[in-house]
């Protein structure tokens, strides 16, 4: 998708290891989001950011931390990965559609498997 990339695309890691996922945008958007997608749960918000060093928790933030030291990068860290964190992770940016309304543009996702 235009202007937003996630890395890595796939990762297998062992339980207890730290993992960092990266989201990079090229269009200077203020708002960035991390969601996880699991069967039967749809997309659930983990954390989001509304500017450099400004972040807030979503509905499933336990076990995750984020950092945003530059406008273009939003990092998601699993401090000690668990099997329950096996999921597909999506990053999104918020773009103004018209007036004060906004919609999301999503990255292609990171498939994380914790074994």
């Amino acid at each position: 998708d235009a202007g937003i990339t996630q890395s890595p695309r796939h990762k297998v890691t062992e339980t207890g290891t730290p993992v960092t996922l990266r989201c990079h945008q090229t269009e200077n958007h203020r708002y960035m989001y991390w969601y996880r997608q699991d069967p039967g749960h749809g997309l659930r918000l983990i954390h989001y950011s509304y500017g450099v060093k400004d972040t807030d928790k979503g509905e499933v933030s336990d076990g995750y931390s984020v950092s945003r030291s530059k406008t273009e990068d939003f990092l998601l860290t699993l401090e000690s990965a668990t099997s329950s964190q096996t999921s597909v992770y999506f990053c999104a940016i918020s773009e103004e559609l018209r007036g004060r309304e906004y919609g999301y543009t999503f990255g292609s996702g990171t498939r994380l498997t914790v074994v």
Binding site: G42, L43, Y48, L97, E101, Y104
Partner: protein
């Protein structure tokens, strides 16, 4: 818990038929949006309807919104095989700069 719930969870129809998906939500919203997700890909924005609008069209898509019932529907007319995907509704709660997604409807168009 999820703001939006979608119905049905899965829908299979013949090419050329119309597909209707429904979404219900719980709180007051600024707008409601629909997204499509092809297998293995990120979600793509389809259409947005404001809380003061009742119906909106975009190509073969028709969205309705009933704020009194806190529900919305997405109609895809004259379906094509390329419409096979999962469709998600997302609500923008008042006062929040974040979307809340439903669980999605998996649509299969059979040739």
């Amino acid at each position: 818990s999820q703001q939006g719930e979608e119905d049905p969870q899965a829908l299979s129809i013949q090419e050329g038929e119309n597909a209707t998906m429904n979404c219900s939500y719980k709180t007051s919203i600024n707008n409601l949006q629909w997204y499509r997700q092809n297998s293995g890909r990120g979600l793509v924005h389809l259409i947005l309807i404001r809380s003061n609008e009742r119906e909106k069209h975009s190509g073969r898509l028709r969205v309705t919104l009933d704020t009194s019932k806190k529900s919305s529907s997405l109609l895809i007319t004259a379906s094509r095989a390329a419409d096979t995907a999962s469709y998600f509704c997302a609500t923008a709660p008042q006062g929040a700069q974040k979307l809340v997604f439903g669980q999605g409807t998996r649509l299969t168009i059979n040739p």
